[in-house]
């Protein structure tokens, strides 16, 4: 049976949501081993097992949390040499990308980024990557020696616990982390304030683009979001212009979201953006430009003045809730 490894990022011992998605995919492909690194990583074992890991490598050295990529790459390279997996799956996250990319150079292996699916094909692997805002699907097969490294986009797979899960075999590692070489070290972590639900978890998202005209107009989005219990997102144009911090960005370089309803306000619908939101169950777009590509995706599109309509919509929602 093929050996499928999953790079299981954890925060204080809890696997990040994408890890559960990766495990769900991985267990459909072969025998799953998870690698969980950093302080309290051992606490993640139970959840990793529930989602299909049969074996978990655990190493709890704080260096995995405090130093970017290199300690994880060193350890993975050693483990891979010993364990000979066929496939190693990472989330397309900040750390996942750094680790997988460095590892591919270290091992001279194939690295396929931005993937939405991995399938078995002719005794090997076929990896699907959406391009051009998800309008085309490219299938790639690796040509280098195993393992193939794949970076899967968050929310590409729906996470589901395994039907029959057993407690995974745990191998706790204590080999020393090389601290001799120059590294990138995290000095401190800053969180930006956000109210309401997180973008990744929200069932309604109200998202704004350049068509809003000015940064202060995001206030009415906040107001609408508060009425709807929604999270607020933004397009890359708005983030690059400094109207909103990066943590709001939805799209290729930002977050991928799959809410029940996505309300795009003054967003033209560049492919950069749509790749991150086209998985929404329903899309509502309001834009003054009838040619805006967002209307090709929208289930309901309203051509008109976004300010006027949003202010009316806030009133409309308020009065209906009042009933």
């Amino acid at each position: 049976m093929a050996g499928i490894w999953v790079f299981a990022e954890t925060v204080d011992g809890t696997p990040t949501p994408v890890v559960l998605e990766l495990l769900t995919k991985a267990r459909s492909l072969g025998e799953v081993t998870a690698v969980a690194l950093g302080p309290s990583a051992s606490k993640s074992v139970e959840t990793l097992g529930k989602y299909g890991a049969k074996k978990v490598y655990v190493h709890e050295d704080p260096a995995f949390r405090d130093i970017l990529a290199t300690p994880a790459v060193d350890l993975l390279a050693r483990l891979i040499e010993k364990g000979q997996p066929d496939l190693v799956i990472f989330g397309m996250t900040y750390d996942g990308r750094d680790v997988a990319s460095r590892l591919s150079a270290r091992l001279s292996t194939a690295l396929i980024a931005n993937a939405s699916d991995v399938r078995k094909k002719d005794g090997g692997w076929a990896i699907v990557t959406p391009v051009f805002g998800g309008s085309l699907l490219v299938t790639t097969v690796p040509k280098a020696k195993a393992p193939t490294l794949v970076l899967i986009r968050p929310k590409a797979v729906a996470a589901e616990p395994a039907a029959s899960a057993t407690a995974p075999e745990v191998e706790t590692l204590t080999d020393p982390v090389d601290t001799g070489k120059p590294v990138a070290r995290v000095l401190r972590r800053e969180k930006e304030k956000a109210s309401g639900p997180k973008l990744e978890d929200a069932s309604i998202i109200v998202s704004g683009g350049r068509g809003l005209g000015a940064p202060e107009n995001f206030k009415m989005l906040d107001e609408l979001a508060a009425e709807l219990g929604a999270a607020v997102g933004a397009s890359r144009a708005v983030v690059d212009a400094g109207w909103k911090p990066y943590s709001f960005q939805i799209g290729q370089t930002g977050k991928t979201v799959k809410p029940t309803v996505y309300i795009a306000l003054g967003i033209s619908g560049a492919m950069q953006h749509t790749v991150g939101m086209k998985g929404a169950k329903a899309i509502i777009a309001i834009n003054k430009d009838p040619e805006a590509p967002i209307f090709k995706l929208a289930d309901l599109g309203v051509i008109g003045d976004v300010h006027k309509i949003v202010l009316q919509l806030i009133q409309e929602v308020r009065s209906r809730k009042g009933k």
Binding site: L68, V73, Y94, R97, D98, S101, R102, S104, A105, S108, T109, A110, L111, A113, A126, F132, G134, S135, L136, V138, T139, T140, A144, L151, P182, V183, A184, R185, V186, L187, R188, R189, E190, E192, A194, L228, D240, P245, Y246, S247, T253, V261, K281, A282, I283, I284, I286, P290, K296, L297, A298, D299, L300, G301, V302, G304, I309, Q315, E316, R320
Partner: protein, 258 residues
């Protein structure tokens, strides 16, 4: 302070891209080629470092001969000299080949800082900077939305899902910058004129000593199929004549979210 900035020439991102069904590569013919807008921020970040710390900025790119235009554009912004890696044998290189070619092209030269965009706007895999850092044995400071260089160290604000981390590495280091890090300057006419006379070294596979390790000979992957994704069904588009907000509210009510 010697700064190297890696740039890529890409098809104009404002023109919808398409793939050639035969070669399964991006169609580049008939589409203007431009310096990747993401890389303009890398050039700007490099120029700001040398303006503060002194030193020079070298611009490096790999691509067909016309990628020279992207280098000239970065030189017009203020870069001092360029390196263009170009060779028919490097066509269709994957990320690892590209990283190897860049590492080979700068062998023997010393740079304190290597700055790249986080990812190209056309390919978006974002693998080259980390691969380059690995090949050179350097730390990587990735996803920087702020960069400071002092006392032989680089310090960045690194983007995270809910804020940023302050991360530091000793020089030399590789840094990737996000679009939000700065406003890239627009080349002045004087800069454009001066750029024409700046030195750009051209190197090919022979010069790099990479036979079999880069380009077609070293592809780690092969595209076997391209097909359109299932399109969303077209919805209803209405023009707002005063009822737009009500229509949206009705729709939200139908979805049972209000």
């Amino acid at each position: 302070m010697n700064v190297l900035v890696c740039v890529k020439q890409i098809p104009d991102p404002n023109v919808p891209g398409r793939l050639d069904p035969q070669t399964k590569r991006l169609v580049r013919e008939g589409v203007d080629a431009v310096l990747d807008p993401g890389d303009e921020h890398a050039v700007e970040a490099g120029l700001q470092v040398i303006e503060k710390e002194g030193g020079e900025a070298t611009i490096i790119s790999m691509g067909p001969p016309r990628a020279m235009d992207a280098i000239r554009r970065a030189l017009a912004m203020g870069g001092n000299r360029g390196i263009l890696i170009t060779d028919p044998g490097l066509e269709n290189s994957d990320a690892l080949s590209t990283a190897r070619a860049i590492a080979a092209a700068i062998k023997g030269q010393s740079y304190d800082l290597i700055i790249c965009g986080t990812e190209s706007t056309d390919g978006s895999s974002g693998a080259v900077p980390a691969q380059l850092a690995e090949l050179l044995g350097l730390p990587l400071l990735s996803f920087a939305k702020k960069l400071e260089v002092t006392d032989g160290k680089a310090r960045i604000d690194r983007q995270t899902d809910d804020g940023y981390d302050v991360v530091e590495a000793p020089l030399p280091a590789v840094v990737t910058v996000t679009g939000g890090i700065n406003d890239a300057r627009y080349p002045a006419l004087r800069g454009i004129m001066q750029a024409k006379n700046k030195e750009v070294k051209q190197v090919g596979l022979q010069d790099l000593g990479l036979d079999g390790q880069a380009g077609k000979a070293a592809l780690t992957e092969e595209v076997v199929e391209i097909k359109p994704a299932e399109a969303r069904k077209a919805g209803e588009i209405v023009e707002d004549k005063g009822e737009g907000a009500k229509r949206v509210a009705d729709y939200l009510a139908d979805l049972k979210v209000i």
